[in-house]
């Protein structure tokens, strides 16, 4: 599964091959390999400090990896910077929701559209017909995304004024505005109530129907087991299991890792 396969449609969208990363003396990721199938929802779970967010940061390019390779659609990501990866089709959301709080909801999503638009400083000042057209289309697309997550009615409000659950939806719309092929969600259900979590689960399914592959870190086990096709389990930086939710629930190593953890 490590080497990219030749058959395009059978090739996984994302393949991690032997990813390791240490901070000082602490090993945050150790020889992690797994693949994310096209149009799947893959979950990444593990006890606190298992290295899930680190892995996210390596995939998106925030951290450089010490060794190993990441293939996105068969292409080695190498050292390409964060914004490059976004334009290749990798988008993400944050654990604590990081919206641009003083900007309007629509503006937030428009920033998400950044990589699919081109207008530079010259265009900003000149505002030729093609620049106006690009802006109009971008606004239209972003309104569609807001409508898709059900937040179109607050488009003009400052993003920081929204309740937390809504901010999370706006953040997802912002990530979708870049037309990603792979969407990384860092604990999308954190801070949501049961009702909101249920709606989120449905939304994830709808996102997948648009052809987007999802990789999510999640603590809410019922959500993970319900929506994910595959689950990778990390413990202390290592991958200890990979499989369908059913396989994972029966996996001895996983049970051992979780039983050792008091909080769970």
């Amino acid at each position: 599964m490590n080497a990219p396969k030749t058959d395009e449609s059978a090739r996984p969208l994302l393949a991690l091959d032997g990813i390791s990363k240490s901070f000082g003396g602490v090993r945050a990721s150790h020889d992690v390999s797994f693949a994310v199938e096209r149009k799947s929802i893959t979950g990444l779970i593990g006890p606190n400090g298992a290295g899930k967010t680190t892995l996210f940061n390596i995939i998106t390019g925030v951290y450089s990896k010490d060794c190993g390779s990441i293939f996105f659609d068969g292409q080695d990501l190498g050292k390409s910077p964060v914004h490059k990866r976004v334009s290749m089709g990798i988008a993400r959301t944050f654990q604590n929701v990081e919206l641009f709080s003083g900007m309007s909801v629509l503006e937030n999503v428009l920033v998400g559209r950044h990589v699919r638009t081109k207008c530079g400083f010259f265009g900003a000042v000149a505002r030729l017909p093609r620049h106006r057209e690009e802006e109009r289309l971008a606004q239209k697309y972003c309104m569609e995304m807001l409508d898709f997550v059900g937040m179109a009615h607050v488009a003009k409000k400052p993003a920081g004024d929204l309740p937390f659950g809504w901010q999370r939806l706006v953040e997802i719309a912002r990530a979708l505005a870049s037309q990603p092929r792979l969407l990384l969600l860092d604990e999308p259900a954190a801070g949501l109530n049961a009702m909101e979590t249920k709606q989120l689960g449905e939304l994830l399914g709808q996102i997948r129907q648009r052809g987007v592959t999802l990789l999510l870190v999640e603590h809410d086990m019922s959500l993970t087991m319900e929506v994910c096709d595959y689950i990778a389990v990390l413990d202390q930086g290592r991958k200890i299991a990979f499989g369908t939710p059913r396989q994972i629930q029966a996996d001895k190593a996983v049970i051992a890792a979780y039983l050792g953890q008091e909080e769970f």
Binding site: L99, H114, C119, G120, V125
Partner: protein
């Protein structure tokens, strides 16, 4: 109100006020004072794009103001160039220096960025003072030519006022358009969270660098205008205190507020003139203003005035 209508009204009124003042005011002193308000507004609006919108502090912005003035000054005085021929050189030099310095400096954040820009400003000021052969050293460079077109002198009276305020109006127009565009949104996004801006695909390094160069070029333009208006330049005009004054103008008017820059620059240029005690107490007052505004109105005066107005309207 439609944006186009609003623009015509606002800029029309702006141009009208400047024209009326230039045509009606006869005192050379007050014309020059108003011209200085314009120069400072130009500097403040440029710095506000960098500091207020993109959130990147600069404590060395006067260096670019000085570079514009000195590059043009040295070329005209030593090589006898026409001032107009030096304008592109001055703007280019400031932009190039901003690019080279910004490349490593803008990787820094917070205090480190503040110290980095401060150190840069200090070094430039030391160069102005120490390269005596070219810059005239601490006592300054006299004998700069005035700006003329044919027989019209643009360095004095109402003409100077129109020239400077013309630049201000164009700069305002450009800045307003940038702020409300794809790049402007990206810059504001960097201000709120650089990490999130990068995560949604903004090339934060190049966006910051671009606006840094932009601010530097605007400052150099102001330096060029200043140099040929006063026809004498010296390092102390472009020192650390000058950089602090520029920051004060931005902060008082309001960060991320283009029209606030006008307010901040006007207040800090006109107040010393109205309060004659200012000279001795200048530093105390600047220091107090910076502290008090940041403690009580971190959003600046302009936004607070707007809020007051809206509250009064709703009542």
């Amino acid at each position: 109100m439609k944006p186009i209508l609003r623009n015509i009204l606002v800029y029309g009124a702006f141009i009208g006020v400047v024209a009326a003042y230039g045509l009606l005011e006869k005192s050379t002193y007050y014309l020059q004072l108003a011209t200085f308000v314009g120069l400072n507004t130009l500097l403040a609006v440029g710095l506000n794009m960098l500091m207020g919108y993109a959130g990147q502090i600069s404590l060395g912005h006067a260096a670019f103001y000085g570079l514009g003035a000195y590059v043009s000054g040295m070329l005209t005085v030593h090589l006898g160039w026409s001032p107009w021929a030096t304008l592109p050189c001055a703007l280019f030099a400031a932009g190039a220096v901003a690019y080279v310095v910004g490349l490593p400096t803008l990787r820094l954040t917070g205090y480190y960025l503040a110290m980095g820009t401060l150190g840069f400003g200090m070094i430039v000021n030391i160069l102005f003072r120490e390269f005596r052969r070219f810059t005239g050293g601490p006592s300054g460079l006299p004998g700069l030519p005035e700006l003329t077109i044919g027989s019209i002198n643009l360095s004095h009276g109402a003409n100077a006022l129109f020239l400077v305020w013309g630049c201000v109006i164009v700069a305002f127009f450009i800045c307003e358009r940038i702020v409300d565009s794809r790049m402007g949104r990206a810059l504001r996004a960097i201000h709120y969270s650089e990490r999130a801006a990068a995560a949604v695909g903004v090339n934060t390094a190049s966006a910051k660098l671009a606006i840094f160069v932009f601010a530097a070029v605007i400052a150099a333009l102001a330096g060029f205008l200043y140099a040929h208006m006063i026809t004498f330049i010296s390092p102390s005009t472009f020192n650390f205190l000058a950089s602090v004054k520029l920051v004060a103008m931005v902060v008082i008017g309001g960060m991320a507020s283009i029209w606030g820059s006008l307010l901040g620059a006007s207040l800090l240029t006109l107040l010393p003139d109205f309060l004659h005690v200012f000279a001795e107490y200048e530093m105390i007052i600047y220091g107090l203003i910076l502290m008090l505004v940041m403690i009580f109105f971190p959003e600046g005066l302009f936004k607070n005035l707007v809020k007051l107005y809206e509250r009064a309207k709703n009542r």
